[in-house]
């Protein structure tokens, strides 16, 4: 509301908007540089590739989650969708003896569960926060039921190739993330669908009065988010070679935290894909830093909290009106 103002000419006034806008990027770079300087084990190809690779599934979920948040929603069920998709993938691979079909089934299952979310939200007119909280419980229960509490292990090179293999030094997971992020960014910025997502998030009533099928746009974002969780699950289950019902636990919160940390507005209508990717890797660098600096893990949560606060405080634009 209040906008205490600096002298217009001052250089602070020039720099501040830039800092606010790119807060997450600036912090990411700052942390990167700090780590590179502090330890020789950070800036190695293997380490960087590992960081990229390890967090690719989370980043894929966060990328799609960005569309959901921009459209004014919340998807708290991605973790559970991940679990179901992973478990189904393993189940299909083992029971039907077809690893490729197993891996393919994960995105399909994800998309279907996302579609169910979307339908529940738009047909029953319930807020996505609660709808996906509820569906995450249901899906989580489903994952447990499918496995009967055991894990389904898949011992097959063609099943694990997706998660563990790559092209040259670059893992498939990273490539998939790259493609998925680019496609999503393109969707958001260069297609009518993206424009609708932005408008529905910005003002659903105005969008509706402009002839946009608000419900359908919302529905698609949840479908997309489910699809992403399914793709992430295919990578994840292939990597560890076993379907476990608790595989996706907590992923949804990390993904949302990364999206918001990136600077996408929790109120919808404003945001970007690259921001969420930065958010994911900012959190990843903290983790990695602690691991390779041998720092006391007791301080890790504390540090993560402080970094998030810093990022958000930096980027906080005082809302003038």
């Amino acid at each position: 509301m209040k906008s205490m103002s600096a002298t217009p000419e001052s250089s602070a006034a020039q720099v501040l908007p830039f800092v606010r806008r790119y807060a997450v990027l600036i912090l990411l770079v700052a942390l990167f540089v700090t780590l590179s300087v502090s330890t020789s084990s950070f800036l190695t190809l293997t380490n960087l590739i590992n960081i990229l690779n390890q967090n690719a599934p989370l980043a894929i979920i966060a990328v799609a989650g960005t569309l959901v948040v921009i459209c004014g929603g919340f998807d708290l069920s991605t973790g559970a969708i991940f679990s179901v998709a992973a478990v189904v993938a393993a189940w299909v691979a083992v029971r039907l003896g077809n690893p490729a079909l197993g891996l393919l089934s994960a995105p399909v299952v994800g998309a279907i569960l996302g579609l169910i979310n979307g339908l529940a939200i738009t047909r029953l007119k319930i807020h996505s926060f609660l709808a996906t909280l509820a569906s995450s419980l249901v899906y989580g229960g489903l994952a447990v039921l499918i496995t009967g509490g055991f894990l389904i292990s898949v011992d097959d090179g063609s099943f694990t190739a997706l998660g563990r293999g790559g092209v040259g030094p670059v893992y498939y997971a990273v490539i998939i993330l790259g493609v998925f992020a680019l496609v999503s960014g393109f969707l958001l910025n260069y297609t009518t669908f993206g424009r609708y997502v932005l408008s529905v998030g910005g003002n659903p009533e105005a969008a509706e009065l402009s002839g946009i099928r608000v419900d359908r746009v919302k529905l698609y974002t949840f479908l997309y988010s489910g699809l992403a969780a399914g793709i992430a699950a295919a990578i994840g289950v292939s990597r560890i070679g076993s379907g476990q019902p608790q595989a996706g636990t907590g992923l949804q919160l990390l993904a949302i935290a990364a999206v918001i940390l990136g600077g996408t507005s929790i109120y919808g209508g404003i945001g970007a894909i690259w921001r969420s990717v930065c958010g994911v890797y900012l959190l990843a660098l903290i983790d990695n830093g602690f691991d390779i600096l041998n720092a006391n893990p007791f301080f890790k949560d504390l540090t993560t909290g402080v970094v998030i606060l810093a990022a958000v405080a930096l980027s906080a634009t005082r809302r003038g009106r």
Partner: protein
């Protein structure tokens, strides 16, 4: 500036006030003073800086440079709370109420009687005292989100009065009021003035300024052009000062009398409580006005026609074909368009740049297989902005900070782009400055001349009478008559709207009181 009131120290005075928003210099070195007990008009084009100045006085904005004196005291730390404690109250241009609280709760918000923080009963009584002055006839215990815009604006006025202010900045307080309500407000202003209250009155209705203000300040591009006694001004002199050039103030000539079969037809349509048996027609190229008092149901009729609200019974036809399963989307596909009355809540996506707001309903035409042709999009909008004189002119401006009038122009652009066959305009000139208004009038006439049917809802009866071919009179959700605009006048319309014999001074609760 020969003002007798200046002998005493002014209520509010500002010196060298400047304010910049990004690249926009909203105010440049404004120096101005408001005497005690005067009604001071503030006029200027859209974006001239009137609201910015008002918000600074009211404590909502802080100046970049400059000084503010209130009753002779230099203001250092200034915010809304301190301003209100000092007796300075702002009625902001954009409606701003707490939706779930009742009328009375909103009116006394922040001024509750309490003991150790525990609320006293007797809110009703306090409200009734205030109501004796205002006589708006609002139901005190209804949540404000159930009120029409006009009624919400009355709540805003009452909220300011409840603060026992010594200075009230009224930023376009009458933009959604009908004539009788406006008269009520002017009575209230007179009464406040008699008690020594200073009123800073921002409005685009120059007649009101001339009739009710002691002095008037004209602003342009963030600067003060002049301050003068209103007695020495005329409408034409004000307009010239505002625009920097003399302007033609006449309504444009009506488009030629239309012929042909009805484009749109409503037959005995009912919807909820607000629309009761409405039958009307609009022909291609025809401008049809809906005139009614506040809350009479004009907006509801328009919304039913456009498909945002379902009809319970009756028949709606477009081009002779019955409309089934109405929705805004289907209406737009048929060639209908509507500019809603609440531009911020219903019209604009404030988080997106201006041009995206314009092209939003027409993206099909700016894309191939879902991929946008952004250059074509911008080019089309640039041309429209030029034609409508939208300011700032850049098409990717941040619409949330545009002045109200310019926001309205952007909304116009949004629908003109689609060349609709039928256009519903709900309060199309609310908050629009005189220059832009003239342009919008011309636009409406041009649109109709090109064959588009127009349904025009406006609380400014001059507009309805001056532009329409025919006018329907709306009362309590029903049409009580139809007149040829060329053969009637504002006075006659008013008489009929209030019912013969009624005097236009009593405020009619107009249904909403009893309905809820």
């Amino acid at each position: 500036m020969a003002a007798a009131q200046q002998s005493v120290e002014p209520a509010v005075s500002v010196r060298d006030l400047s304010k910049r928003f990004g690249s926009t210099q909203a105010l440049s070195a404004v120096t101005l003073s408001f005497a005690r007990g005067e009604v001071h008009g503030l006029v200027g084009e859209n974006g001239a800086g009137k609201s910015t100045l008002g918000k600074m006085i009211g404590g909502l904005y802080h100046p970049d440079t400059g000084e503010l004196d209130v009753f002779g005291n230099r203001v250092r730390r200034w915010d809304i709370k301190r301003a209100q404690d000092a007796g300075v109250v702002l009625i902001a241009q954009e409606l701003c109420l707490v939706p779930a609280l009742t009328v009375a709760q909103n009116v006394f918000l922040g001024r509750e009687r309490r003991t150790f923080g525990v609320l006293h009963s007797g809110l009703e009584r306090r409200y009734q005292e205030l109501e004796r002055v205002c006589r708006f006839g609002l139901p005190p215990d209804v949540p404000v989100d159930r009120l029409s815009i006009a009624d919400q604006q009355k709540v805003e006025i009452m909220r300011a009065l409840a603060r026992d202010a010594r200075v009230i900045v009224m930023d376009e307080p009458t933009s959604s009021l009908t004539a009788d309500e406006t008269t009520r407000l002017h009575d209230i202003i007179g009464w406040l003035k008699s008690r020594g209250t200073t009123i800073i009155y921002v409005t685009h209705f120059l007649e009101d300024v001339l009739a009710h203000c002691d002095r008037v300040t004209v602003m342009r591009d963030g600067r003060v052009i002049r301050t003068a006694d209103t007695a020495r001004e005329t409408k034409a002199s004000l307009v010239e000062a505002m625009l920097g050039e003399p302007a033609d103030m006449l309504l444009p000539e009506r488009p030629p009398e239309p012929g042909g079969a009805p484009l749109v037809e409503m037959r005995d349509v009912y919807s909820g409580e607000a629309v009761r048996g409405v039958s009307l027609t609009v022909r291609p190229g025809e401008i049809v006005g809906l005139a009614g008092l506040v809350g009479s149901g004009r907006t509801e009729i328009a919304r039913v026609l456009f498909g945002c609200e379902p009809a319970d019974s009756g028949r709606i036809a477009f081009r002779g074909e019955e409309v089934r399963a109405a929705s805004a989307r289907a209406s737009i596909a048929r060639g209908m368009a509507m500019i809603p009355e609440d531009r911020r809540a219903q019209g604009l996506v404030l988080t997106r740049p201006a041009f995206e707001n314009v092209t939003l309903p027409h993206l099909g035409g700016f894309s191939r297989m879902g991929v946008l042709a952004r250059r074509a999009e911008r080019a089309a909008v640039e041309e429209l902005f030029e034609r409508l004189g939208v300011r700032p002119r850049q098409v990717d401006g941040d619409i949330s900070v545009y002045s109200g009038g310019n926001q309205q122009k952007v909304l116009f652009a949004k629908w003109l782009l689609g060349r609709p066959e039928f256009l519903i305009l709900d309060e199309p000139t609310r908050g629009v400055d005189v220059g832009a208004k003239a342009r919008i009038y011309q636009l409406i006439v041009d649109i109709a001349t090109s064959g588009t049917g127009v349904l025009l809802i406006s609380s400014e009866l001059e507009e309805v009478v001056g532009l329409s071919h025919r006018v329907y009179l709306v009362r309590h959700g029903s049409l009580i008559g139809e007149v040829a605009a060329a053969e009637t006048s504002v006075e006659v319309l008013l008489q009929r709207l209030f019912g013969v014999g009624d005097t236009p001074t009593t405020s009619t609760p107009s249904g909403n009181g009893e309905d809820q």
